[in-house]
Structures are given as C-alpha cells and as structure tokens.
C-alpha cells in the first residue's frame, strides 16, 4: 500500500505550531517556578555569611557604595561590600589575572582591629564551575590573619599557580578597599 506523503508546507506549519506551543507552555511553567523559587540578593549574602561565620548569628547591617573605589582595577574588582552586625566587613570581590587570564570571585570577610584591616576568612562565591579551585578548602584558610603589610604572593597551591594569583589579587583588593573605607 502506498503511503500518502504530507506536502512540505503542511508538515512545516504543523511542526512550527507544535514547537511554538511547547515553547510557550514550558516558558510559562518556568516563569512560575522561577518566581516561586527566586533566591533574593539578601538571601545569597546571608548564605555567604553563614558559610563564613559557622555557628555564629551574624547578619547584614549596611551595604556600602563601592562605585567610588577605582584603585587596583587591573588586578581586581570590588563588586559589593557589606557591614555586618559584628562590625566586620564582607567584601564581594573578583580577582583578575588568573589561569588563561580568567577571574575568580570570592567573599572575603575583613575585621578591623586598631584601624588595621585583617582578613578573617575567604570563601569561593559559587561552585558551579567544579574547577580544582572549588575543591580546595585549606588553601583559602591560609589567607586568614593577613593584613596589608603581609606578602600574599607566597600563598600558592601546587598545580594552580595562576589561579592562586587571582585569589591573592582578590584578597589584596579586599584589604585595600576596607583600609580605604576606614581611612587606614
């Protein structure tokens, strides 16, 4: 029995209608779920705070204006800075000049003692890339206690020399920014 083949335009229009219908329905469903599951900026900052201050109740107090800070732009970028309820500063910073000229974004908590900015803890912003840098834990702890007078260039993880440099740049920018804010 011979099969009747649909004309090209008819199958084209049918395919187009079906695909557009699927796109519209899927898009609508995703819009609703996205609205229900949206993670606000405040929630993301609180998550970063909870990662740094484990078992301590610390919250966001104030957001500082970072647009006036224009130093060290070749090695890093201060994305945001927050003052926390315990008086520490939480700097959201991107370090440049990493592997293949890439960048790495971190949250750096900086405490101020006698007008000296000291790094308390450093955590990675997100783990989406699943790079080697996201698997390191002890490496970031080596920046704790560092001030602007300390040399950060010797904090290097074997096998990730260039990426370590981006982290050094990010931490340096954070300390420098907080020093600028407190006038140190």
């Amino acid at each position: 029995m011979a099969t009747i083949k649909k004309p090209f335009w008819k199958s084209f229009v049918t395919s187009l209608i079906v695909m557009i219908s699927i796109i519209v329905v899927c898009g609508g469903v995703l819009a609703i779920v996205n609205d229900l599951c949206k993670v606000s900026d405040e929630e993301r900052i609180q998550r970063a705070i909870d990662k740094i201050y484990v078992d301590t109740d610390v919250s966001l107090e104030e957001t500082l204006d970072v647009s006036t800070y224009d130093k060290n732009q070749d090695i890093g970028e201060i994305k945001a800075c927050y003052v926390l309820s315990n008086g520490d500063y939480l700097v959201h910073v991107t370090g440049k000049k990493g592997y293949s000229n890439g960048s790495i974004t971190l949250y750096v908590s900086v405490s101020v003692d006698n007008s000296f900015a000291t790094v308390k803890k450093t955590v990675l912003d997100n783990y989406k890339g699943q790079t080697l840098m996201s698997k390191l834990t002890d490496f970031y702890d080596r920046f704790s206690g560092k001030t602007s007078s300390d040399d950060l260039t010797d904090i290097v993880e074997a096998g990730t020399t260039r990426s370590s440099q981006a982290v050094q740049n990010a931490v340096y920018c954070s300390i420098d920014y907080v020093n600028t804010v407190i006038g140190g």
């Binding site: 199958s11 049918t14 395919s15 079906v18 695909m19 699927i22 796109i23 899927c26 469903v29 995703l30 779920v33 996205n34 599951c37 949206k38 993670v39 998550r47 997100n126 783990y127 989406k128 890339g129 699943q130 996201s134």
Partner: protein, 206 residues
Amino acid sequence: MNKFSKIASNGLIKENPTFKLILGTCPTLALTTAAFNGIGMGLAVTFVLICSNVLISLLKKVIPSNVRIPAYILIIATFVTIVKLVLDKFIPSLYDALGVYLPLIVVNCIILGRAESFASKNPVTDSALDGLFMGLGFTVSITLMGAVREILGAGAIFGFKLWDFSIDFFASSAGAFFTYAIFIALFNFILYKIEQKKKLSLLEVK
C-alpha cells in the same frame, strides 16, 4: 512475569543504565566522590526521567517525528531547570556539590535514550514506571560507587568520618575510572552467572 516486574527488573538490573548500558558516564565519573552526591544526582535524574517520560508519552501523537528530538530536548530542559531552581532555593549545599553537572542532565543519554526508545512508543503508566525504575537503577548504582570511593578515598561515609586511613587514588579521576571498571566487571559477571544458572535449571527441567 507481569509488565510491572519486567519494567522494574529492566531498569534496575537487566538494562541498568550505569553498569549495563554504560549511559550517563560523565556524572557517574565526576560526582561519585561522595555517596551523598550520588543520591542527589540520582534523584534529580529520576525526577526528570519520570516527568519527561510521562509528558513525551502523552504528546507522542502530537509531536511530528521530524521535530521530535528538539521537542524532547525542550521538555527535558524545562524539567532540569525546575530541578535546578528548586535545589538552589531549598538545598543550596547539594546545588553547590552538583555544580555544572546539574544543567548537564539535559544532555544525559539515559533521559533522551528512554524518551526516544520507550516513552515515545508506550502508554503513560508504563513510561512513568520506566522512568522511575531507570532512575532508581541509576541512583543505586552511582550511590554505591560514591560510597565505595568515599570510604576508600576519604575514610568516610555520607560525610561521617569512619577512620583516618584513606587512599587518595580513589578520590582522583583515575580512581573514578578504576572503580567504575571494577563495578561494571562485577555487575556483569554476577549477571552472567545468574543467567547461566537459569539456563542450566531450564535444561534440567526439560
């Protein structure tokens, strides 16, 4: 053997996606450093498999065959994005642990494979069951692999420290390939032996 037990045994044993069909190897190798990652990834894949199988089975007569693959990808991508948004909101630790492999579920061969070979040819209930058991087969397999690698590579299970002894090799990429090969060999050897036994007993009956 009724339909239900046939679909169940296919998904869990006879056509086990990880150890028999060797599908979804990317997350299997990359995420099995810990048993918890295995469960998380497995359940995410199971959810996407069930939902996409049901929807594709429902729409099998509506979707023209010449655009079926892009249509399947769209449907799968929608469910993967839903899982991604829900995990980011409610289980951020698992969302961080799964990282880039979560959106990559879209191109997971198990899901597209089942959509094309099963859901597009079978009724809704059978497709849902197929998704459930294929997903469970995948979940059990990668959780087992994750448990073995976590015990040997980190001396822990589900994050709980068992002892200080660990063999770093099992936590590495090479260790993932080695463990996977051992599991495939063992699984297929046991399956082969069971089938041989069944054949022998059938011959004896005759």
